[in-house]
């Protein structure tokens, strides 16, 4: 019982709430979140695959309009958190939900 309550409490917090394709980005348009995401993009080695300018290399270009796994904020979040069957690692155990949203914010900022 205690455990269920704990799980429910967790789910109630935004950080662990289930993210769907239509979930909006809690940091949408926030410059400080984009900047934090920019730092994470380098620190977590995202740039190694997607390049420091996000135009891709080993991994896909994140600045164009083609999204293999969906380009909505919730879809980008899902791709980062869960990885892909084609070798993109899952980052949900290495970054917090807020950090993943910050990276999403940074990627979105490069589309404006």
């Amino acid at each position: 019982m205690k455990r269920i309550a704990f799980v429910l409490a967790l789910m109630a917090t935004p950080a662990f709430a289930q993210v769907t394709a239509d979930t909006s980005n809690p940091f949408e348009g926030k410059a400080d979140a984009a900047e934090a995401g920019h730092a994470l993009f380098g620190k977590m080695n995202c740039a190694g695959c997607h390049a420091y300018d996000l135009t891709g290399g080993m991994g896909p270009d994140l600045t164009d309009t083609s999204w293999q796994y969906g380009g909505k904020p919730g879809e980008i979040y899902h791709t980062i958190a869960e990885g892909t069957p084609r070798g993109m690692p899952a980052w949900k155990d290495k970054m917090t939900a807020d950090e993943i949203w910050q990276v999403v914010t940074y990627i979105q900022s490069r589309h404006q």
């Binding site: 290399g57 084609r86 993109m88």
Partner: protein
């Protein structure tokens, strides 16, 4: 100050080019017969002239074919005899093998093998083998999902899968004979190397220079794939198979466990140094030779020290794997100058005698001629645009690094030449024992480099280099050159718009074939550098051409199109073509078994029983 030094260095490079590019030197480029240099090669195992049984045709990696049917008089009549598309869109890098009347092809990921029957019209498929490698490997391969070649031995086609398996397939039936798992793809290593066979062993090297891997090289038994010996590149001597036989020529590579002590702490464990390139073999010395990749991470300030044995070449006993000598081309590599390019084994005249040497065009822009018995560097001269080092000091084998070329963390350093991909990459050169020259596709470019500190995360890139690459003087990104390995100088060169990232083949009629990233396949006079024939193909060429004799006794030349691999760094340049996957096979006038006007009846028509008029059939 830094900038002025760089400009000066750049001008030196430009001056070097002006002297050599396209300009005949002391030895005339139009020498119509005889050797320019006196260099020769042991073409063991001396396969039948019309066959192409290993990627480089011989153990020495010459890519020399003795065939002469296609010659300077008729090469202008080369036309497509037939073609074959394999449907896979990643970069194509290997050369077809021809064994008997069968051609063997293997695609990039998902590494599907095809056997084509050359004895029949249009070379129909005999069998297909689909190994279904793990798609997670797609995200771990740094530079496209490629395969650089495949091997034939003991009635088997043997090759690597991107997901760290090596497989052997029955060459007659396409049935899998064995499959072995050599590493864990989830942690970063992949296999893209061309398996290389000598006798009962197949030699495999790991890939993953940008993934914080722990590079290794191993010999598998051709019969069942079990590991006979395995040598890690870095780490303690025991694991690297460095023992009492190890006698490097230069003193700075002598000592115990240098693969540990030349790194900070335990960073050698993620030091990459992956041997993903070509292997060659000297049957007289019974030694194999192969190079190692850049150290990891690519940001050098994180790993002070020589970082042995990254960016180096090893000579090892072919049976035991015990190291005989090593030579680190780029100590403490700061620019991603892997040492994995081909080592072409030749013999040269040297100071009144002859030396058994290897010729190696390094990414760092120097072409080395090295005594392969001792590891002594005899010649090390620039073969293209570079400004990171003023020279290689032949008294100790060390480069003299220009101060202005050192990268700085979080600061852009401009005009370092070459960029990470080098003056030449893995694309293999060819050597002609007739001309005594080597032929190679090379790059003319520089970079603005900003380094970043990175952390090691298993399965993610361990990199740190942010680059802007740009064409060098002249604006042309690439060239195709003829090289004198004794004097260490160019004989001729042909400028190309983009990097020349294809392999080369040279024939007994002094023809050299190479391809370009903008889709041109060319035949060139090996003596003068004059282009004799060009054909535009359906995609750019980053594979190695080859030539063979068909069952109809006719000489063919074949090359895969399908631009990709590391060449993708130029994907946004004008002229870079879309990907592709077509093998083109050429002959004089496009002639072949049952082709053109020799086939005026369809196969189905020819195979049908004698037709009966419909009216009669109803009775």
């Amino acid at each position: 100050m830094r900038k002025s030094l760089l400009v000066a260095a750049l001008l030196c490079g430009a001056a070097f080019l002006a002297l050599s590019a396209g300009t005949p030197d002391a030895k005339p480029a139009n020498k119509s017969t005889g050797s320019f240099t006196g260099a020769t090669a042991n073409l063991a195992p001396n396969d039948p002239p019309g066959q192409w049984i290993r990627q480089a045709r011989d153990y020495a990696n010459t890519r020399y074919s003795p065939l002469t049917q296609i010659n300077k008089a008729n090469v202008g009549r080369l036309r497509v005899a037939w073609s074959f598309s394999d449907g896979q869109m990643y970069g194509h890098e290997g050369a077809p093998l021809v064994v008997g009347d069968t051609m063997y092809l293997v695609t990039p990921f998902p590494n599907i093998a095809y056997a084509l029957d050359l004895s029949k019209t249009g070379a129909p498929i005999k069998w297909v083998y689909q190994p279904n490698p793990d798609p997670r490997a797609i995200g771990e391969a740094c530079c496209d999902k490629v395969l650089r070649g495949w091997a034939y031995a003991d009635g088997k086609l043997i090759y690597n899968l991107l997901d760290d398996h090596t497989v052997a397939v029955d060459a007659a039936t396409g049935k899998e004979v064995w499959r072995v798992l050599l590493d864990d793809v989830a942690k970063g290593p992949t296999l893209t190397q061309a398996a290389f066979v000598v006798g009962d062993k197949v030699y495999i090297g790991s890939s993953g220079g940008e993934l914080g891997t722990n590079g290794w090289f191993q010999a598998l038994d051709v019969k069942d794939g079990h590991t006979v010996w395995k040598a890690f590149t870095n780490g303690p001597d025991d694991g690297a198979l460095i023992g009492p036989d190890f006698k490097p020529f230069y003193s700075w590579m002598k000592g115990k466990d240098l693969g540990v002590s030349s790194w900070p702490g335990e960073m050698w464990k993620q030091g990459a140094s992956a041997p993903w390139g070509w292997v060659s073999y000297d049957p007289d010395l019974n030694e194999i030779y192969y190079g190692t990749s850049n150290p990891g991470p690519r940001t050098p300030s994180q790993r002070p020290g020589l970082n042995l044995w990254s960016s180096a070449v090893f000579a090892r006993d072919a049976n035991t794997g015990q190291a005989k000598w090593a030579y680190q081309f780029t100590p403490h590599d700061e620019w991603d100058y892997d040492g994995v390019n081909e080592n072409v084994l030749i013999e040269i005249p040297w100071k009144g005698g002859r030396r058994k040497v290897m010729v190696h065009f390094n990414r760092n822009g120097f072409a080395y001629t090295i005594d392969r018995a001792s590891g002594e560097v005899l010649v090390a001269e620039p073969f293209g645009l570079q400004n990171w080092a003023s020279k290689i000091d032949l008294t100790n084998g060390m480069p003299v690094v220009n101060d202005a070329a050192h990268p700085v963390v979080e600061k852009k350093v401009e005009n370092i030449c070459p960029p990470d991909i080098g003056v030449k990459n893995w694309n293999p050169s060819a050597f002609s024992p007739r001309t005594g020259l080597l032929y190679a596709g090379v790059f003319n470019s520089c970079m603005d480099l900003t380094n970043h500190i990175v952390q090691y995360i298993p399965g993610a890139p361990y990199d740190g280099m942010e680059m802007v690459r740009k064409a060098g003087p002249g604006g042309n990104w690439g060239e195709f050159i003829a090289w004198d390995p004794v004097a260490g100088k160019r004989i001729w060169s042909i400028k190309e718009n983009l990097y020349v990232w294809s392999g080369a083949v040279v024939t007994g009629s002094d023809l050299v074939f190479y391809g370009t990233m903008d889709g041109w396949f060319r035949a060139v006079d090996a003596r003068s550098g004059k282009v004799l024939w060009s054909q535009k193909l359906g995609s750019g060429i980053t594979a190695a051409p080859m030539t063979f004799t068909g069952p109809d006794k006719r000489q063919y030349v074949a090359v895969y199109t399908g631009v990709g691999g590391g060449a993708g760094v130029l994907r946004r340049e004008k002229g870079y073509m879309p990907g592709g996957n077509t093998l083109y096979v050429f002959s004089v006038d496009g002639a072949g078994i049952g082709l053109g006007t020799s086939q005026l009846v369809s196969h189905a028509q020819a195979a049908a029983p004698v037709s009966v008029p419909p009216a009669a059939a109803h009775n």
